[in-house]
Amino acid sequence: MQNIIKDGAVLTADAWQLVRPDAEGQLSVPDEGDVIVPLAAWLAEPERWAARDGRVAVWLASDDEPAELADSLSRLELVAVDFPAFTDGRGYSIGRLLRERYGYRGELRAVGDVWQDHLHYLWQVGFDAFEIKDGKAVESALAALATFSERYQATFREPQPLFKRRST
């Protein structure tokens, strides 16, 4: 597992297994180990996850409502957001909402069609971990975090917009 960037470095080991429903919509979650389950499963079976030995995290699809996870966030050490296509920008808003509105402070991981050219933006809106898509270079993705040295907007990383920092 060497395709995950976290906190500005490539992870050498990662215990999390992300579980997606199969073609029939069935979810088979391994009994052992640390898993990332879909939001709907997390909300539907709280006792099951509480009783489980391994750690449990949650992933959001791009059309999921992050508010539904708000009450769970303090108990989660990882939340993943899926990017089914890199051109689907909904996950950027989800990231900001989790960080800025619901105050989530654990690991926020971007998964799916994630590669070099999106990391800078993802970092700005609050993601700190990136599972780079198979076949895409991880080292150059790491370097891309520093593509831009400044930005105009108020973001999670830089809450003061440039115009305010300019005219003080």
Binding site: F86, T87, D88, G89, R90, Y92, S93, I94, R96, R101, D117, H118, H120, Y121, L122, Q124, V125, A137, T147, F148, S149, E150, R151, Y152, Q153, A154, T155, P159, Q160, P161, L162, F163, K164, R166, S167
Partner: protein, 552 residues
């Protein structure tokens, strides 16, 4: 004009280097065509019918003479010696080589220009009134707000991958010259009862496949809250706009599905979390941006000096040009001059490198080094002394820039069409030319008066055909080019979408069709009644009867 500071310059340089690397990886096979397409589009690069097309941003249509000379230089060095000014107040090069685009971008960066977000599913170049800052009816100068929006929208990390393209227009004057009713967001300045200035927020207008006039979702937005409110609108759109069908992905479809009230309520709810946040504009912030748009050093002059009025009296051609191609100025003794890019035989909006250089020289010699691009695809010298108009007119005539047809039938708004664009169903330039050739008699044009003819080569509506008094749309019927005609569209404060008059026409018929439409107008008009008003009064039927009448 706005000038970059070190940070603006650095951001643009970093974008050039990012794009250079993206281009390199594409050429090396590390990025697939599907992966590279959205990336290159977000930097204005299309792969067109004949060659790549690069669209350069001209923020809210403002250019300095130095920037115009650079555009001319690039046209010579990397293209075939000309460029095309668009209805989004941008410039397109039709012939650059893919490999040279990063170098073109680097040259643009030298003069504080770029191609960021001139295409793609992101916030595009913000447009405004081409006469901003010099118009007599201005309530506030929209340009500081345009620059604030430009910076906010540039590389916005949350909104880089919207469901579809997103266009914002700002109007700072009573009369809307920025087409705010047909934009994804139109911001029209208003005063409230307390006399404070704010924006009326219009959302969900647009042309294209499903033309719609926008809906007002907020009657009065205090200017301080501009950016937090835009963030709220964009967030609602980014999260809930349709992504399953690109033809239903514009914000107008979402507004319609949620209803105006439902959409406005959702935005208000989102905004309640963002309002008064760090992106709230303080007076000092607005003042910083406004400081770039102060008046130039106007001379104290008399209006209508004797040497000017004497020329008007003795030279009919000059008087005609002054009447059509100049605009009254807020400063006595000055006019704004519209240099027509609608000379018969030249594709509307096209300018040669020599013409660009000439305009730059005139901007320095007669004005304050500033040039504007209008969304009607003409160039404007905003500040010319009336006493210099005669000299300028003679130079402009020699350069093919003084066709006295601004606002006339032949001042056609026209997209590049099937000659260049791979999206087009039909050619537009030859139709425009045929119409210009048929109606080249200035006495006749003068008699017909104000008439906006807009033409697009496909339903994407780059030529704004829906809001032309006469609109022409190129359509494909079994592989042949046909042209559909609409009447009664208009831009401005009472914007309307034109209505189709009936079955479409072959290209060769088009000048006759226009002539018949004009003949109905001439027969039916009341004294001094403009074309659009006649259409509104008598409706479409008399036009249909004449145009589709059986011969023999």
């Amino acid at each position: 004009m706005y000038r970059y500071d070190e940070i603006d310059a650095r951001i643009v340089r970093e974008r050039v280097e990012q794009f250079r690397d993206q281009t390199r990886r594409f050429l090396a096979g590390e990025l697939s065509e599907d992966e590279f397409r959205p990336l290159r589009l977000m930097n204005g690069l299309y792969i067109q019918r004949l060659a790549p097309m690069l669209r350069v941003a001209i923020p809210y249509g403002h250019l300095s003479s130095r920037q115009m000379r650079k555009l001319a230089e690039i046209a010579r060095k990397y293209d075939k010696g000309y460029g095309h000014f668009t209805t989004r107040q941008n410039l397109q090069y039709n012939w650059p080589a893919l490999e040279s685009v990063p170098d073109i971008l680097a040259e643009l960066a030298d003069v504080e220009m770029h191609a960021i977000q001139t295409s793609g599913n992101c916030v595009r170049n913000t447009t405004t009134d081409a006469f901003a800052g010099v118009a007599a009816d201005e309530i506030i100068d929209p340009r500081p707000y345009c620059e604030i929006i430009r910076q906010w929208s540039t590389l916005h990390p949350e909104f880089a991958f919207l469901p579809r393209k997103f266009k914002i227009a700002v109007s700072g004057s009573e009369q809307d010259r920025a087409a705010t009713w047909v934009h994804d967001i139109g911001l029209h300045v208003v005063r409230n009862e307390a006399g404070e200035v704010g924006f009326k927020v219009i959302v969900g207008g647009g042309l294209g496949r499903t033309p719609m006039i926008g809906e007002v979702i907020r009657d009065f937005l205090p200017t301080a809250h501009l950016l937090t409110y835009l963030d709220a609108v964009l967030r609602v759109y980014n999260r809930y706009g349709r992504r399953d069908n690109k033809y239903k992905a514009r914000i107008k479809i979402l507004v319609k599905a949620m209803t105006r009230e439902g959409f406005a309520a959702k935005v208000e709810e989102e905004w309640s979390h963002l309002k008064d946040g760090p992106a709230t504009l303080r007076c000092a912030d607005v003042a910083h941006y406004a400081s770039f748009f102060t008046d130039p050093a106007y001379e104290a002059l008399e209006a209508n000096p004797a040497e000017f009025t004497a020329r008007l009296a003795e030279d009919v051609a000059f008087a005609r040009w002054v009447e059509r191609n100049t605009r009254l100025h807020k400063q006595a003794g000055y006019r704004s001059v519209v240099l027509s890019l609608k000379k018969t035989g030249v594709p509307p909006g096209d300018a040669t490198a020599a013409q660009m250089d000439a305009v730059a020289d005139w901007a320095d010699r007669f004005g304050f080094g500033e040039i504007r691009v209008s969304h009607e695809q003409n160039l404007i010298l905003p500040d010319v002394r009336e006493r210099d108009l005669y000299d300028l007119w003679q130079l402009a005539k020699d350069a093919g820039f003084a066709t006295p047809n601004v606002g006339f039938l032949t001042d056609i708004i026209c997209c590049p069409g099937g000659d260049f664009c791979s999206l087009a169903n039909a050619k537009s330039i030859p139709v425009a030319e045929a119409i210009q050739q048929r109606f080249d008699d200035f006495d006749y044009l003068h008699d017909i008066g104000d008439l906006e003819l807009n033409m697009s080569g496909c339903m994407n509506a780059c030529g704004h055909h829906h809001i032309g008094h006469i609109g022409i749309l190129g359509v494909d019927k079994n592989g042949e080019e046909w042209y559909q005609v609409t009447l009664g569209g208009s831009q401005g404060s009472g914007a309307t979408i034109g209505k189709v008059i009936g079955p479409s026409f072959a290209r060769a018929q088009m000048p006759d069709v226009i002539e018949k439409i004009l003949s109905v107008y001439v027969d039916s008009r009341h004294a001094d009644e403009k074309f659009l008003d006649t259409v509104r009064r008598i409706g479409l039927d008399p036009f249909k009867e004449r145009v589709y009448a059986k011969h023999h």
